[in-house]
Amino acid sequence: MEQKVLKKDQIVKLYNDLVKDYNFYAPIKEKRNIIFGKITNPEDIVLNYYNSKVPPKEILFPQTDILFEYKINGKEIEIEEPKKLDEKNIIFGIRPCDAHSFILLMNFFSQGEFKDEIIMNRRENTTLIGIGCNTPKSTCFCTSIEGNPFQKEDMDIFLVDLQDKYLVEGISDKGKKLIKRLSWLTDATNADIEMAQELGKKAEEAIVTKIDLKNIDKILDPNFDHQIWKEVSEICIGCGTCSFLCPTCTCFDVIDENVPNENRGRRVRIWDTCQSCLYTLHTSGHNPRNSCIERVRNRILHKFCYYPENYGMLGCVGCGRCVQLCPANNDLRAIIEKINKIEQKKEEKVTV
């Protein structure tokens, strides 16, 4: 039998089996939020959750990432490269949208003459055990981005929550191998498989938000100077939540952090956001993206125009975090709707 069953009370066993060889990341509760944390006590794993507030991209691309450490002795400088990252990770409970975001992240980080080997290495050493979303949120719109709440292609192992147990399916070779190692998993019955299919259908139907993204890049490209950018950026407060918590955002800053009163420190990269005025401010004082208008436009264009131009796919996974967490309620879905209307207006003009 290809598909197996993992009882929920066997999660501890699963953890104990794997934690010897892997850093085991799973959803946990921290300050009333769900985040992906490195598990030390399997009892901490939260199984009934929608999705994490901070996307699991931080396991590949941490908020603070040490590039190297240094010591300064007068005019002599000692550089200490970070240790080789050969630790293996498991991300248990990743949602399909976030697993898809890993494809988008790796497209970017592995592209071009200069590849981000730190992140590529982490990805290589990471296994995804994901879970389908039986109950998507009202802000979810993965089905508009050719995804669905049971999309398993981007995972290594895919689980379906069947109340007291999970249906377990190996997707990648990596995943299939791992399942073989977990020889104590029992075979799934036909009833289990049918139930999973049923849940998948229900979940897909539960996503009511449908936004039309078919021609979005073509609409956006010629409308760089459209007045719509003024409209959709009016309520933006430039806090950057949408991009910090976006599973596909990749921007970072690089700074030297000195240990106070000691001649040593580290060069780190930290998450940055294109919604900040400092992000593009030239030393001369000139700023090519001087107001929220340009900055909001850049974020939308990056996801829905530039990324598709460079990689042939949308730069959004439909997780809805930016919709749900924006303190000013600037709803991406509404913005897309407005953008789509630009084109309709044009068509109307043509027909007249």
Partner: protein, 272 residues
């Protein structure tokens, strides 16, 4: 790569622009650092930070590499406080640089403003080198500054003015006693000099406003979009197309540029 400060030259009267000459601590690093004019590098002071600076030296100036730095923030102030013998970190070369191969056999019009002249100096020194001079035709240089105290690379300019195979036109924004060259912004001076677009390439480097006004003049002079090359400035961190901020549309200035032809710029949003 680590380098050592070999020499420090103060470039202007107010002493907020300095050129640092660096030598590689490791011979292998020097050999691997193959660059062309127009490229930049990320230079850093450990403990202060890193910043992208255009390479002011030419690869024909063997043995060291030069950066001209204006004192602005933490890192650049750190460079200004450097002493001979200090250690400077270096990553690069970054960016595409001037297309020196495609420019062969052409008349070259070099237009620069302010201290963005550094990579233009690199280009001019490269072309004027005995090995390369025959590959290029006439060279016209228009170099503008706020005032006479801001004119960089004085010894080089004096050398060039003595030569008959390069025409150097200097301009400053306002009249000054003793100033015998042109007065006025770069764009109108280019209009007055009116270089011919015939078999020519114009290379433009300066503040964004100068680039924009100069492009308009060159278009008036019937330069085609492909004949106008611009080196753009943008805030950068990584220099390798990953940190995100130097994008114009779907291009990154650090890896796809900093040199873009006007034809390329017209395909991109005007967000620079």
């Amino acid at each position: 790569m680590l380098t050592t400060v070999k020499d420090i030259i103060s470039e202007n009267k107010v002493n907020d622009i300095k050129t640092l000459e660096l030598v590689f601590k490791n011979e292998e690093d020097y050999k691997s650092f193959q660059y062309i004019p127009g490229q930049f590098a990320e230079i850093s002071l450990i403990g202060k930070g890193e910043c992208p600076i255009g390479i002011a030296s030419s690869p024909t100036e063997v043995g060291s590499i030069m950066f001209t730095i204006k004192k602005m923030g933490t890192v650049t102030s750190g460079f200004h406080n450097c002493e001979v013998g200090d250690t400077v970190g270096l990553r690069g070369p970054c960016g595409n640089g001037w297309p020196i191969e495609e420019m062969k056999g052409k008349n070259i019009v070099v237009i620069g403003g302010g201290f963005a002249f550094s990579t233009l100096r690199s280009l001019i020194i490269y072309i004027l080198d005995d090995k390369h001079r025959k590959d290029y035709k006439n060279i016209t240089v228009v170099y503008g500054n706020r005032d006479s105290g801001e004119v960089l690379y004085q010894p080089d300019l004096e050398d060039w003015k003595k030569r008959d195979d390069i025409n150097v036109i200097l301009t400053i924004d306002r009249e000054e006693e003793g100033w015998t060259d042109k007065v006025g912004f770069v764009a109108p001076v280019v209009k007055e000099v009116a270089p011919s677009p015939e078999n020519a390439i114009a290379v433009v480097c300066g503040p964004p406003i100068m680039i924009k006004t100069t492009i308009a003049v060159l278009e008036e002079l019937k330069f085609k979009d492909e004949q106008i090359l611009n080196s753009l400035e943008m805030r950068m961190k990584c220099g390798i197309g990953k940190c995100g901020r130097c994008n114009i549309g779907n291009k990154f200035v650090c890896v796809d540029g900093p040199v873009f032809s006007l034809a390329e710029l017209k395909e991109m949003p005007s967000e620079y």
